[in-house]
C-alpha cells in the first residue's frame, strides 16, 4: 500500500495556526485603533516623523516576494524546478532587503532619540510615546515573522533542490508559502496605519 498524505489535513493545520496569528496582530491593531481614537493629533504627528519612502519600498518588496513564492509553488506543480528555485531565491533576497531597510529605518529613529523609554518620548505628549511604542512592537514582531518566514523558505529551497519537494509532495512548500503570505498580509495593514496617516 502506498502511504497516503492528507492534503486537507496538512493545510487545515497550517490555517489553524494562521488564525492565531491573525488574532495576535489583530489584537495589536485594535490597541492601535483605540489609542488613535484617543490621541489622534499625536498619532498623526508621529506618523509624519516616519519616512514614507521606507514604507513604500518595503511594501513593494513584500508584494514582489509574495509573487515569487506563489510562482515557485506553481513552478513546483509544473515540475519547473529551476523557476521554483529562482522564485525562492528571489523571495529570500526580498526578505533580506526588507530587513536591511528596517535596520536603517530603526537606526535613524534611535539616533534621533526615538526609542521605547527614550527621554525625548517620555517628555513629549503621551500619544507620541504610545505611537512609537506600538510602532516598535508591531514592526518588531513583524520583523521576527520575516526572519522565521525566511528560515522556512530557506528550508523549502534546500528541499526543492534535493527533490524532496516535488509536484506530488509539495505540502511543506505550500505551508511555508502560506506563512510568508500572512507576513505580507500583516504588512498590507501596517503600511497605511503607520506611514499614511495624515
Amino acid at each position: 500500500m502506498k502511504p497516503q498524505t492528507d492534503r486537507t489535513g496538512n493545510k487545515m493545520g497550517m490555517w489553524l495556526f494562521l488564525y492565531t496569528e491573525i488574532i495576535l496582530f489583530g489584537g495589536l491593531f485594535v490597541l492601535y485603533a483605540v489609542y488613535f481614537d484617543r490621541y489622534t493629533e499625536d498619532f498623526i504627528a508621529g506618523a509624519k516623523e516616519l519616512d514614507r519612502v521606507f514604507g513604500v519600498v518595503n511594501t513593494i518588496i513584500l508584494l514582489v516576494s509574495s509573487f515569487f513564492v506563489a510562482a515557485s509553488i506553481t513552478a513546483v506543480r509544473k515540475a519547473h524546478d529551476r523557476i521554483a528555485l529562482a522564485g525562492l531565491w528571489g523571495a529570500l533576497a526580498c526578505g533580506a532587503v526588507f530587513l536591511v531597510n528596517k535596520y536603517i529605518e530603526w537606526g535613524h529613529k534611535i539616533e534621533h532619540g526615538i526609542y521605547p523609554g527614550s527621554e525625548k518620548l517620555l517628555d513629549s505628549a503621551g500619544g507620541q510615546n504610545l505611537f512609537f511604542g506600538l510602532y516598535y512592537v508591531i514592526t518588531g514582531l513583524h520583523g521576527i515573522h520575516i526572519i522565521i518566514g525566511m528560515t522556512l523558505l530557506g528550508v523549502s529551497l534546500v528541499l526543492v533542490h534535493r527533490q524532496k519537494i516535488t509536484a506530488q509532495k509539495d505540502a511543506l512548500l505550500e505551508n511555508c508559502g502560506l506563512y510568508w503570505h500572512l507576513v505580507d498580509l500583516v504588512w498590507i495593514f501596517i503600511f497605511p496605519l503607520f506611514y499614511l496617516v495624515v
Binding site: 490555517w15 485603533a33 483605540v34 509573487f67 506563489a70 509553488i73 506553481t74 506543480r77 497605511p192
Partner: protein, 93 residues
C-alpha cells in the same frame, strides 16, 4: 486528489502582482488628498481589497474546500466582534 488543475498560471500571478502594486500607488496618492477622517477608511478599504487578492490568489483560498473557507470567515468574524465590542466599550465609557 486532482490538485494538478488547481494552480494559477504565472500570468495570473503576475497580473495580481500588478494590481497589488497599482493599489499601493493609489493608496499612497490618496493619502496626499486631505479628506479628514475619510482618509483612514479609504486606506483601510484599499488594504482590505489587497488582502483579499493575496488570500484568494496567492494563498489559494479559491481552491480550498469548505472547512478552510468557513473557518477563515469565522476568524474574520471573531476579529470583527473583538474590534466591535472593544469600540463599543471604549465609546460609551
Amino acid at each position: 486528489m486532482e490538485h494538478q488543475s488547481c494552480i494559477f498560471e504565472y500570468r495570473t500571478l503576475g497580473l495580481v502582482l500588478a494590481a497589488l502594486l497599482i493599489m499601493t500607488a493609489v493608496t499612497v496618492g490618496a493619502s496626499y488628498i486631505d479628506l479628514g477622517w475619510v482618509n483612514i477608511w479609504i486606506a483601510l478599504m484599499i488594504a482590505s481589497i489587497k488582502a483579499g487578492l493575496v488570500l484568494v490568489v496567492f494563498m489559494h483560498l479559491k481552491f480550498e474546500g469548505r472547512a478552510v473557507i468557513l473557518s477563515f470567515l469565522s476568524t474574520v468574524f471573531f476579529l470583527a466582534v473583538m474590534i466591535g465590542f472593544i469600540f463599543w466599550d471604549v465609546g460609551f465609557r
